[in-house]
Point group: C2
Chain length 198, copies 2
Amino acid sequence: MGFSASIEKLIEEFEKLPSIGHKTAVRLAFHMLRLPEEECEQFANTVIDTRKNLKYCSVCNNITDVDPCPICANPKREKEVVCVVEDVRDIVQIEKTHEYNGVYHVLNGVISPMNGIGPNDIKLKELMTRIGTGEIKELILATNPNVEGEATAMYISKLVKPFEIKTTRIAHGIPIGGDLEYVDEVTLAKALENRTEL
Amino acid sequence: MGFSASIEKLIEEFEKLPSIGHKTAVRLAFHMLRLPEEECEQFANTVIDTRKNLKYCSVCNNITDVDPCPICANPKREKEVVCVVEDVRDIVQIEKTHEYNGVYHVLNGVISPMNGIGPNDIKLKELMTRIGTGEIKELILATNPNVEGEATAMYISKLVKPFEIKTTRIAHGIPIGGDLEYVDEVTLAKALENRTEL
């Protein structure tokens, strides 16, 4: 005997989650079963409700509960500067810096021929429509610094060229608090190449 | 801005789970939001349903969907040998060995004065009732080899003394595949003390 069928099913559901292996799934399942029934229902209902009420901002494609999202609706944000990110979570990361006052555009992915994701599978058309309005002056390409992210940034910069918009890429270099000894050579080369005058 | 209120709530729900920190909670929440709505509902409903249909075996206190549980109902299992464990998960671990053919008793905890858990807070009374029927010949105390587990085992063995039941404790020693160099000295002392003749 392993667990009873219904518990096995619960464990399987938890195992489907990313970064959750079998042992953690067992622990989580039993945690759920030990919770008071109301708390357990509250958890499950939050999952269902949040998923049901999920909306995407019609302007920037951010996840939101109002449309347009608070960032796009904020009159204090510069609408001429658009930061292009892969994922909604990247917005949160950038917002945490308190350094950026423009708006965003969420691609919802990157071009990745290996995974069969082409330019039409991410929100590029929507970006071009926004650019077409002529409101945008600068495009900051903040896709991740990996093969797909770089390729997507390159692709977008070429696509945007005819519009005479300033297109920038976030800087690559040594992270603050990092150690030269442990930085990989590609990053170090980039850091040297993009050195700034003091 | 962090996330929108409803997403924050979902992240909080995931953060309440054991061994899930903030970053993992964010990842899980966004995973949920990206799932097709049916799969998301299936996950949540499995949580609710399993919790609702949860039953405890009236004999051994195992989690089950039928009462008595498949182990207690199995006529091939020796009902005279009862293995006392802290937790339902321990049953699964012992069953995996395929070496044990008796039945179980789940205490649902251990005596732990530090945490305010006394003998009346675990399923000890139920164990004594089972012993009172006179059916049980051997009690294997398989609580964990830590302070609370040892104390609980001692407590039960004293409680059971008047009944003239064979009471045994699972062996402590060096794990198979272990290395003398890395074994702590208490375990090593136990392994020496309980050495067996070849």
